[in-house]
């Protein structure tokens, strides 16, 4: 089993995380999920990779990008993996 290039740090039942998951699935991207603590102060792993403790946070090793905030991530996924039509001039 080869490791997916995209790692999503997520919180169970977090709607912002589900928003990103829906987009990953829409583009049929292979990704792995790492579930972290509800307690914000305990999310050291997220802080280490992204500089912040918020989720979702995503690492894409294919492009070397790490980012937080679901709107940013969705926008990035559209630009990087979406068809030109679907970006809707988001840039």
């Amino acid at each position: 089993m080869s490791d997916p290039e995209i790692t999503l740090y997520r919180l169970q039942a977090c709607p912002f995380c589900e928003r990103v998951v829906r987009k990953l699935e829409a583009y049929d991207l292979d990704y792995r999920s790492r579930f972290v603590e509800p307690m914000h102060s305990d999310r050291d792993v997220v802080k280490r990779i992204s500089g912040k403790r918020t989720v979702p946070a995503m690492v894409d090793e294919a492009t070397g990008v790490t980012m937080s905030e679901s709107a940013n991530i969705v926008d990035y996924l559209d630009r990087t993996y979406g068809d030109a039509d679907e970006t809707g001039g988001a840039a």
Binding site: M1, Y9, R32, S33, R34, F35, V36, E37, D44, V45
Partner: protein, 179 residues
Amino acid sequence: MAMGLDFEVVDLTDTDHPEEGEQAPDFERPLVNHEYWEDTALSDLTADGPVLLLFHTMDGAFPTTYMWNEIRDRQWGHRERDDDLTVVGLSVSSPYEHKQTVQERGIEDADYRLFSDPQNGVAEQYDIAHDLDGMAGVSEPRPAVFLLDAERVIQYAWVADEWPEFPDYDAVEAAIDDL
């Protein structure tokens, strides 16, 4: 009698669990460390070397506490001769409970990680499921230890035939030393 009691404890029924020399069944479940959990296959772990797989009762029960304390104190996986041994547990407890166990038992630095299997499917796969008396609808693995080489072939197997029963830690350690 593992605990040296002078009365009979509950005998468990015979099982058809995998034996030494056989390849351990593969499975994938959330594997919990002190920071996150992630779906992981047993074969992902054996790909990196030998694995000690410990089935135990649910987190919070005293045998689980005692077992992890004992393994932590014996430093399995971190002695000079252990090379790249990976030590993992498995119980029916949720990932949230496992995270707490990893912290409370002080096993995060040892990188002992715990598989979460609330529906007890892995124990069924290994034929070591145990319906708990007095907890309606709750089944968990009976205590068991499997030491696997990098091909997932079982080098040492122990499955409790009484309840409760603890592993023979010296025997497990001898098996690790024989790897």
